[in-house]
């Protein structure tokens, strides 16, 4: 299969975006090395395992096209992550039907758990459900900020928006959750 693709590339006028064998190898190493990190981020961005794999593959496809230039970047993984963010947000925009991100059902509470443990699991499930219900932009801001641990400025760069937008997305999401969790807590 490799040979066929190379042959096709050679026949294309001007050679197209020819990626030579050395670049092919470096791309392979990059994919194998970064796949699991990218997949985790993609899963948190989409909330769905199948969509996550699709997102990573698509982003890597686009990265491959420009690999000659990207492999020289300081952080090619950051580039791929940015591509994933863009794809995820714009794909959601283009959908005609509303697609609900289905949260995983909550793990059963451990039998021997003290009240504290149960509470922890309940809170984290609540957070995950809340994240799944967020708009892609807000979810992206949260994932980049609290999973990738980027600064607000770095999140803004990755999302291609203003820092103020990031700040307001985060504070709105937190405020909402604070209210919901306090309301929940009052029943416990």
């Amino acid at each position: 299969m490799e040979g066929t693709i190379a042959e096709r590339r050679l026949r294309m006028p001007g050679g197209g975006a020819a990626v030579k064998a050395a670049q092919e190898e470096s791309f392979r190493q990059f994919v194998e090395g970064s796949w699991h990190r990218l997949l985790r981020t993609a899963y948190l961005l989409t909330g769905d395992h199948g969509a996550a794999e699709d997102l990573v593959q698509t982003a890597l496809m686009r990265t491959y096209r420009h690999w000659a230039r990207i492999e020289d970047y300081e952080a090619p993984e950051a580039y791929v992550r940015r591509v994933m963010v863009n794809i995820n947000i714009s794909a959601w925009r283009r959908r005609k039907a509303v697609v609900h991100v289905v949260a995983e059902p909550p793990e059963p509470a451990p039998a021997a758990g003290a009240g504290d443990h149960q509470n922890t699991y309940a809170v984290r499930d609540e957070l995950w459900r809340a994240v799944c219900a967020m708009s892609p932009r807000m979810r992206t801001a949260f994932v980049l900020r609290y999973f990738e641990d980027l600064t607000e400025a770095e999140v803004a760069t990755a999302m291609g928006c203003a820092v103020g937008t990031v700040k307001s997305q985060i504070s709105r999401g937190l405020a909402r959750l604070r209210i919901d969790l306090q309301a929940e807590g009052s029943f416990r």
Binding site: M12, W35, Y43, E53, R94, K96, M134, F147, L174, R178
Partner: protein, 461 residues
């Protein structure tokens, strides 16, 4: 929970528990991320995606490509990938000066044509149609200096071909007149012609506008499985529509459908029980589309104009509408003269009746309405209102926006304008930003050129 509900205008207060909440998020995300399943061979799966995308791109099918593959897989027509573009006219090659004609003249019989692409076009046509000795002869072409100037004055990579529809004489060739480009919406009038020819349809016949409410089925007898395509992660009823086309769940006349630029009414027509893609395919060939045109097959996606053709081919195809349904093969030479002025050869006027007069009239009536009422109006903006009555035209662009077309004419002439743009290494690139194609892109890029050419034709008469 709706996290998107707009909050109060002032910034929400940050409570004391925010830091705790943030840490909870961090912990939650860390835990959740561990639940991902790792693919056993990530690199292989990425490679496979790339190869599949390459195959699709090589066929230049755009978003209609998946529908094409879906439909074709069902019919079993899909065989091998067609080869590189084949010229619709005999390929132009450099001929040594000693072996060819001495002089080339415009149709007026005395203005000389300088060496260049126009000479080469005439020579190529001549070699394909006349097999005698050309040495020392004078070639009187069909080209008109005024029309040729208008055809040449187009910016960028625009291809212009102008024909006299009554005789097939080529009046002007500009730019990339020979470059095949995806015909896109230009295929729809051919579908109309096929429909009107059956006698069962008129411009007032109605078809639905909304594919999502009115799926199409192919082949006949498969009414349980509609044709669909995939976009993003979703499946939709085929055909796809340009985002600039307004779709309601309603039935529209074929005239209205042409004005709107929608694909669904034409897909319904093409796949109706008394029609079928193979009828449209046969008609397109009889009207002048070469069988060897890239991506030219009798499959449902034909209505979306997947095949590629040159501006000259489309001009001659559309000229069939002008001349009451009679097709003439394009002619670039009027006469061959010997050195002493004696007539050596005159090409015969080939003509074949392909459509009935009433079919041709109905199509031009629809295209007249489309030109004046649809997004194609950009094409006529610069034409004086008084001069518009006899005009008709179709516009279009494929989803990739790698070409923009406006093709049409009046009672005597047809002009076909196809605009494209190439990157530095020779591949076509999209003309617009949005990659949605459609009638409006065609009229935006090709319209002004077409209007100028039609203006020059008007003064000629």
């Amino acid at each position: 929970m709706n996290a998107d509900k707009p909050m109060r205008a002032d910034k929400p207060e940050s409570g004391p528990g925010d830091e705790v909440l943030e840490n909870e998020f961090r912990a939650m995300f860390a835990e959740r991320s561990e639940t991902v399943r790792m693919a056993t061979a990530p690199y292989a799966s990425v490679r496979q995606r790339i190869a599949a995308a390459r195959r699709k791109r090589r066929l230049r099918l755009g978003s209609a490509g998946v529908a094409f593959a879906v439909a074709a897989a069902g019919i079993g027509v899909w065989a091998t990938v067609p080869g590189r573009h084949q010229a619709a006219v005999a390929p132009i090659s450099k001929i040594p000066a000693s072996g060819g004609p001495a002089k080339y003249l415009y149709a007026d019989g005395h203005t000389e044509i300088p060496a260049g692409p126009l000479q080469q076009a005439a020579l190529a046509w001549l070699r394909a149609n006349y097999h005698g000795d050309l040495r020392g002869l004078t070639v009187v072409t069909t080209f008109d200096p005024g029309i040729q100037a208008a055809a040449n004055a187009s910016p960028g990579d625009s291809g212009v071909a102008v024909l006299d529809a009554r005789t097939g004489a080529v009046l002007g060739l500009g730019g990339t007149w020979d470059t095949p480009m995806q015909v896109a919406d230009l295929m729809k009038p051919i579908v109309l012609a096929a429909a009107f020819q059956t006698g069962h349809y008129t411009p007032d016949s109605k078809e639905p506008l909304d594919a999502q409410k009115h799926p199409v089925y192919w082949p006949p007898g498969s009414e349980k499985t509609p044709l669909t395509f995939v976009s993003g992660n979703q499946q939709f009823n085929w055909p796809p529509e340009s985002p600039t086309t307004t779709i309601h769940d309603t039935d529209v006349t074929l005239t209205q459908a042409a004005e709107s630029g929608a694909n669904e009414p034409f897909a319904q027509l093409e796949l109706a029980a008394d029609m079928g893609p193979s009828g449209v395919y046969q008609l397109a060939m009889r009207m002048g589309m070469p069988k060897s045109s890239p991506d030219f097959f009798p499959v449902p996606s034909l209505v979306l104009g997947v095949p590629a053709a040159s501006p000259l081919t489309m001009a001659s195809v559309y000229a069939t509408f002008n001349d009451g349904g009679v097709r003439h093969d394009p002619r670039m030479v009027g006469q061959l003269l010997a050195e002493n002025g004696r007539n050596v050869w005159m090409p015969p006027d080939t003509f074949t009746r392909v459509l009935s007069q009433s079919t041709a009239d109905q199509v031009t009536a629809v295209l007249h309405a489309q030109l004046l009422n649809g997004p194609t109006t950009i094409g006529v903006d610069s034409i004086l209102a008084g001069d518009r009555s006899g005009l008709w035209a179709a516009a279009g662009a494929p989803t990739s926006e790698e070409a923009a077309w406006l093709t049409g004419g009046d009672s005597h002439y047809v002009a076909s304008v196809g605009v494209s743009s190439k990157t530095s290494n020779g591949t076509l690139k999209p003309l617009g930003d949005d990659h949605h194609g459609g009638v409006d892109i065609g009229s935006e890029y090709a319209g002004p050129i077409w209007a100028r050419v039609m203006g020059a034709l008007k003064t000629r008469d």
